[in-house]
């Protein structure tokens, strides 16, 4: 937050920040700001081959959340690195200055970087590229909520596009707990007023989970319900990702 304080000392955004009244989320008849059902995801759009300069890349758009992931390599590891029998995975997640409502927040996200690495690691056959590194770089063009799950799914697609050997595609979905309700694939507004969040990244065809994060206030039955919601959504998401890859493969054949 130090960076933010420095910029606000000279300039400020004219948008009202605190005046907005919170939606009565705890009501039974509360509707989501974008009119979706509680268990309905935003329409997902994927496209591979977004960046020509990269070995593989993908663009993903879920509502207002827009990300690009480029994959480079396998290429020579940094000189300072020790010899390694298996390949290395190197990740980075950054945001554009205009991605967030307030300008220039969280440009280089260390937490997301670490989580992206952990989410992908389990799905990649690292032994297929010994002594070398695969770089996975993500840029969030616009942040509209559920950024990390979108980045992770998009990164998996980019890895597939680059021809990196994997056990399965990785799909990732999160749910937010808002009072009594569980809402899937939350947007920014919902994330800011959530009581808890749960994110699953999994390999749907193997029914294996590579990462599960739970934060906030959850009861055991709620966790079960949330996990089931996420797993179902992941399976559907993986189908969309798979069809995107097939489309790209067909397109290149013609």
């Amino acid at each position: 937050m130090a960076g933010k304080a420095a910029t606000t000392s000279t300039t400020y955004s004219p948008s009202p920040t605190t005046l907005k009244t919170k939606a009565p989320i705890f009501n039974e008849d509360w509707v989501r700001p974008d009119g979706r059902g509680f268990h309905q995801c935003r329409p997902a759009f994927f496209r591979t081959g977004a960046v020509n300069a990269a070995s593989g890349s993908a663009y993903a758009e879920f509502g207002n959340t827009k990300v690009i992931v480029s994959v480079f390599g396998p290429r020579e590891s940094k000189k300072a690195m020790m010899y390694s029998d298996i390949g290395r995975l190197n990740c980075n997640v950054s945001f554009t200055t205009f991605s967030t409502p307030l300008r220039g927040q969280g440009l280089d996200n260390k937490e997301y970087t670490a989580m992206l690495h952990k989410a992908l690691e389990g799905s990649i056959m690292l032994e297929t590229f010994p002594k070398t590194t695969v770089d996975v770089f993500a840029l969030v063009l616009e942040s509209g909520g559920s950024d990390l799950p979108v980045v992770i799914s998009c990164a998996s697609l980019a890895l597939a596009d680059a021809g990196i050997m994997m056990y399965d595609l990785i799909a990732s979905v999160s749910v937010s707990c808002l009072g009594k309700n569980l809402v899937i694939d939350p947007i920014l507004e919902e994330e800011s007023s959530q009581d808890g969040s749960l994110m699953i990244t999994c390999m749907p065809s193997r029914y294996e989970i590579t990462q599960l994060t739970v934060t906030g206030d959850w009861s055991t039955p709620k966790i079960n319900e949330g996990m089931q919601l996420c797993l179902d959504a992941c399976a559907k998401l993986a189908k969309i990702m798979r069809s995107c890859l097939k489309e790209a493969a067909l397109g290149s054949q013609e």
């Binding site: 000279t10 300039t11 400020y12 955004s13 004219p14 948008s15 009202p16 977004a50 960046v51 020509n52 300069a53 990269a54 890349s57 207002n64 690009i68 992931v69 480029s70 480079f72 290429r75 980075n92 950054s94 554009t96 200055t97 205009f98 991605s99 967030t100 409502p101 300008r103 280089d108 770089d135 770089f137 993500a138 840029l139 063009l141 616009e142």
Partner: protein, 302 residues
């Protein structure tokens, strides 16, 4: 001269891809004598160019520009500042150019591209010296408040002619910019005017309705490569890495020279070559102007 001859002999036997990688300069020369480039373009032809306005919903103005596969995303966020004592009636435009690690294999996290700050400075210089934007238009309350326009340009895919694409995206974003309607509240702060607030008369509107900037002459640029007697317009990254001498010329809509940039290189630029480059740029300006006009009129229809 053993090596060039060796490559010439090999050119009939070797696979094209291998020859391209081993003797890139020879490979290009074989094309250049036929007045064509490996991607099928004539020497003086720029790549296909597209502009999409309003690509970023959270910004007041934005543009996605593609020249070939070089891709730029520019967006403007408007903030309020106190103008300086010297120019109480003027706002400010802060231009920043970024090359994130996704755009090129050369850039890695923590090790930013060397060209990024150079392009950043060139862009600010070009836009300010072209007089494209009247900074007085960005004033809100004389001496008290003015707009600070943060124009950030991200390179999403770097495949040559980075400056040309960046400048085009910057000017396109400025042409798309809608200055939001704002009013001053009791604390002397500028706030956005929402529809309900419009009726409340306690607030004094400063900028009553959304408006666009009145842009004067718009700068456009073309980068050319000089190699021997050849001039290659709008080079790709591969061409830039093989033939190093570049000339970037910026002209405005009325063909006035705004900037001329030749950062070293082994080929000396003689007057006729420069004149040829300027002529190519003049042509390109017309092309780009019509593409930009088209993009803007498409926005108005919607």
């Amino acid at each position: 001269m053993v090596l060039p001859n060796a490559s010439e002999d090999l050119s009939t036997e070797m696979e094209v891809d291998a020859f391209r990688r081993l003797f890139p300069l020879r490979y290009y020369e074989c094309h250049l004598v036929e007045s064509i480039r490996p991607d099928g373009r004539a020497l003086a032809r720029a790549r296909d160019t597209t502009i999409a306005l309003g690509a970023v919903a959270s910004a007041s103005g934005s543009a996605l520009v593609k020249i070939g596969s070089t891709t730029m995303l520019a967006a403007i966020k408007m903030e309020v500042m106190t103008p300086t004592m010297e120019s109480p009636d003027e706002g400010c435009i802060a231009i920043d150019f970024h090359m994130p690690p996704i755009c090129s294999p050369i850039v890695r996290p923590g090790r930013p591209a060397e060209v990024a700050p150079v392009v950043s400075k060139q862009l600010s210089d070009t836009i300010s010296s072209s007089g494209m934007v009247d900074l007085k238009e960005l004033s809100l309350v004389s001496g008290k408040a003015a707009w600070m326009a943060f124009l950030d340009i991200y390179c999403l895919d770097a495949d040559g002619a980075v400056f040309d694409a960046a400048l085009l995206s910057a000017t396109a974003a400025l042409s798309h910019l809608q200055i939001p309607a704002v009013s001053m509240n009791d604390d002397g702060k500028i706030v956005l005017m929402s529809e309900e607030d419009g009726e409340r008369l306690a607030q004094e509107p400063v900028n009553k309705e959304k408006r666009k900037l009145a842009l004067r002459s718009i700068p456009f640029s073309l980068t050319c490569i000089l190699y021997k007697n050849y001039i290659l317009a709008d080079p790709t990254a591969e061409e830039e890495s093989i033939m190093e001498t570049q000339v970037t010329i910026v002209l405005d809509s009325s063909s006035q020279l705004i900037s001329f940039y030749k950062p070293g290189g082994s080929v000396l630029a003689y007057t006729p070559a420069i004149q040829d480059c300027v002529a190519l740029t003049r042509q390109r300006v017309k092309e780009l102007q019509s593409i930009l006009d088209e993009a803007n009129s498409a926005m108005e229809v919607e």
